[in-house]
């Protein structure tokens, strides 16, 4: 019943289930691919422009893809009301939250690794600034998306209209993180400014919101 033990077990279970069906990852992949294509059609950026708006495109695409995936991981817990089985057990609520968050984080990172080459191809990206900074931004930014996303997905499955609630709650709260991600990425790509401030901001955001999530998840899980 240790938090870490249960977190591990839940994570392994989630990964196994995902591995069996590959639903979430496949649909996410295809979905973000579509978003990229739709965007490049819709905006048809010129070569110079694209570097300027690529940061926005990438993160908006991942945001939408993540929303899709996040809803799915909780939907699985809800299908036969398995969540009730968790709730009656003595296992700590935060273990479930951590497992879901880490699992979603892994998914989205895999997605990003697979999609990155596509962006480079579609938008003819070439980074002017150092690439390792992009990596830091991606990891911090993804965590920001995922930790809040997991929490709010867990919150919104309790409501009517659960598919639509997640973006309604997640988007306003995530705006600063998104802004930081986009601006940091653009700074690195164009090399015009230093992304340091934005990276620091992301780090602060991650810490504050992870703490809040861990603090409040128990009340949310047991709300009824």
């Amino acid at each position: 019943m240790s938090t870490l033990g249960v977190t591990g077990a839940s994570l392994v279970k989630d990964l196994r289930m995902e591995w069996r069906s590959k639903d979430a990852i496949n649909s996410m992949l295809f979905f973000s691919l579509l978003v990229v294509v739709i965007f490049s059609f819709a905006f048809n950026p010129t070569a110079e422009e694209s570097r300027r708006i690529a940061g926005g495109l990438i993160w908006v695409a991942f945001l939408f893809a993540a929303v899709v995936a996040l809803n799915q991981t909780w939907a699985r817990e809800l299908r036969n009301q398995v969540l009730d089985a968790y709730r009656v057990s003595p296992a700590p609520p935060n273990a479930l939250f951590l497992a879901k968050t880490v699992g979603n984080f892994l998914f989205v990172v895999v997605l990003e690794i697979l999609m990155a080459p596509l962006f480079v191809v579609f938008y003819e990206l070439r980074s002017v600034g150092p690439v390792w900074q992009l990596l830091v931004v991606a990891l911090l930014g993804t965590w920001a998306l995922v930790v809040n996303g997991t929490f709010f997905a867990g919150l919104s499955i309790r409501t009517r209209n659960r598919e639509i609630m997640l973006p309604l709650l997640l988007f306003p709260i995530t705006i600063p993180a998104l802004l930081a991600m986009v601006d940091a990425t653009t700074s690195v790509l164009t090399g015009e400014a230093s992304p340091d401030f934005w990276i620091k901001l992301l780090a602060v955001y991650d810490i504050v919101f992870t703490a809040l999530c861990l603090l409040l998840f128990e009340s949310v899980l047991n709300a009824e």
Binding site: M1, G5, V6, A9, S10, K13, R16, M17, R20, S21, R76, R79, N80, Q81, V82, D84, A85, Y86, R87, V88, S89, P90, A91, E224
Partner: protein
């Protein structure tokens, strides 16, 4: 623990329990006390509040008013590892096999030995080696596995909500017999069902609910006469 007398200390004490859904009172002030080591059958019309009562006692819902003690504790959390709950839904992952499900749920109770899961599956008459995913189980098999999940950690108190719904008669009889054996080991069991006849010969007490209240409690002497009474219980 075998052979506890009906006069053993109460496992559940309800004190003026009330549950509102908006303006509607689903539970209307229930005060009752249930002794351990017995098998209770909860009967009642649709909407009588049976599931709601069970969910409150299992800690899945807060009562609006009143309080209860469970195995001597004031909060369910303290005694969660001593209680087993089975709901309307199967509470199982369709994508995992039977043993994978049980292994995961055993982990939630701090049990990391496969023997636990095997034992539970054998008890309900399933083969632990079955590799099929639960999604491909028949309704009857799924209900058995659901029962196995609820009793996995050998709880002292079991709360079972309509374990026989949509289950064919044969499977249902088997499950009732299993419950009888578990009770004989000194556990306390609550079964909500619309098919009282299935519990013939194993029930200790019939608890009749109507409109959010317990309207009658009848001791069952497990013999032919009692069974006849049970058959015409409503």
């Amino acid at each position: 623990m075998i052979g506890i007398a009906p006069s053993s200390p109460p496992v559940i004490v309800l004190e003026n329990l009330v549950k509102f859904f908006g303006r509607f009172a689903a539970i209307r002030g229930i005060s009752a006390s249930f002794a351990g080591g017995r098998l209770y059958v909860i009967l009642g019309d649709n909407g009588a509040g049976k599931s709601t009562l069970l969910r409150i006692v299992a800690g899945l819902m807060e009562p609006s008013q009143g309080s209860f003690t469970l195995l001597g504790a004031k909060t369910v959390h303290e005694v969660a590892h001593r209680v087993g709950y089975m709901g309307h839904a199967p509470l199982l992952y369709d994508e995992l096999s039977g043993m994978e499900n049980l292994r995961y749920f055993a982990g939630l109770y701090g049990l990391h030995d496969d023997v636990v899961g095997r034992h539970a599956m054998q008890m309900v008459g399933l083969d632990p080696e079955l590799t099929r995913r639960v999604g491909q189980y028949s309704q009857g098999m799924r209900q058995r596995l659901s029962l196995a999940r609820a009793v996995l950690h050998n709880p002292e108190l079991m709360l079972l909500d309509e374990p026989f719904s949509n289950v064919d008669v044969r499977s249902a009889r088997d499950m009732a017999a299993i419950l009888g054996r578990v009770r004989d080991q000194g556990k306390t069991i609550f079964v909500v069902t619309h098919q009282a006849a299935l519990m013939e010969g194993v029930a200790d007490e019939l608890v009749h609910m109507a409109e959010g209240q317990i309207v009658s409690r009848a001791e069952v002497v497990r013999d032919a006469a009692a069974n006849a009474a049970l058959r015409t219980a409503r």
